[in-house]
Amino acid sequence: MRYKEYNTNRVLDKCIVLFWDKGYNGCSINEIVETTGVNRFSLYHEFSNKEGILYESLNLYRERYTADNFAILNLEGDLVSILKNFYLSFLQESGPVQGCYFIHIGTELADNDPRVKKSVDDFLMHINDLIVKLLVKHSYEINDAQLKARHLLGLYCTVMSFCLIHTPEEREKYTLNGIKVILS
């Protein structure tokens, strides 16, 4: 049991990087076989089909790679810095991808695949709820906190798409400007 679980996650890790680099539709099952070193039959046995690999990769990414980023939103300190550090934490080189896997996959597939759509929506709502909590902790009225959180979430979507082409300095400037416009 233990050995198999480890193996599954390692396969999914490789698929995350593959889908990130080539797009989900841009890679064939043959490429998945080559990249993971697992044969087609085992892949189908484990995940049923290519979609199954995608769904499981989203789950793994969320469970394994986003906890540290989310934890930033629970830290004490200056609100603007906490938000800025949260956004920029996704763009560091620590995770399997530089950016947000959900936004990347959502951009490609959320309009065609209801399961991807739900998965992306759940992920974004989770961020939304954490930001509302953070703003309430910083003395925002609940209605105002919800309003601002919707737009800080919009900013999240922007930073994870638009800012991928930026230099680190441009990113920081863009992110700070966005937070200030929304919170002012």
């Binding site: 309003l147 919009g154 979507c157 082409i165 400007n177």
Partner: protein, 191 residues
Amino acid sequence: MPRVLNNTYEELVEKAQEIFWVNGFKGVSIKGLSEHLGVSQSVIYNKFSKDLLFLDSLNYYTSNYSDPFLSQLRETTEGLDSLKDFFYALIDALLDKTFPKSCLMVNTIVELRNENEDVVKKYDNYLRVLKDSYKVVLEKAHKLGQIKERQKIDDYAEFLLGVIFSLSILYKIKPIEELRQYIDEELSFLV
């Protein structure tokens, strides 16, 4: 005897941009491209190339979709109200599939990032025109008294540059009322 192409190059580009818009650059194979264009794969390899067809697709997109949309925006007179109309029209275009899949430039930025120098030039130019167009409208908003501090216009234009990116993901998961509310609120931050 050399094979004569039935289509002009411009017609091929128009068709190519349809398939790139929906499937992205990497999601289109040479085989898929040749089937969609109705020309043989060797014609694509030898006569054009996937890269060239893609670059010209981006040109086709800007001259046929984004440029007319933005020049209309620059000519508006109602400041923030005109911006609201502009974003509402964009939401409609996304939902009724006038824009079959988000904005081709936004998709390209997300998909290819800084991988290809020629592509970078195209979207840099697109972003500059977009930001300048927002600034033109924000200047009018300032004259109308909707925006108090003129020196904030650059920051606001930078902020608005992101709206098209957030909409490109949100329209896929949120209903139209929420998208319109999002625009109204987003513009309410510009004071």
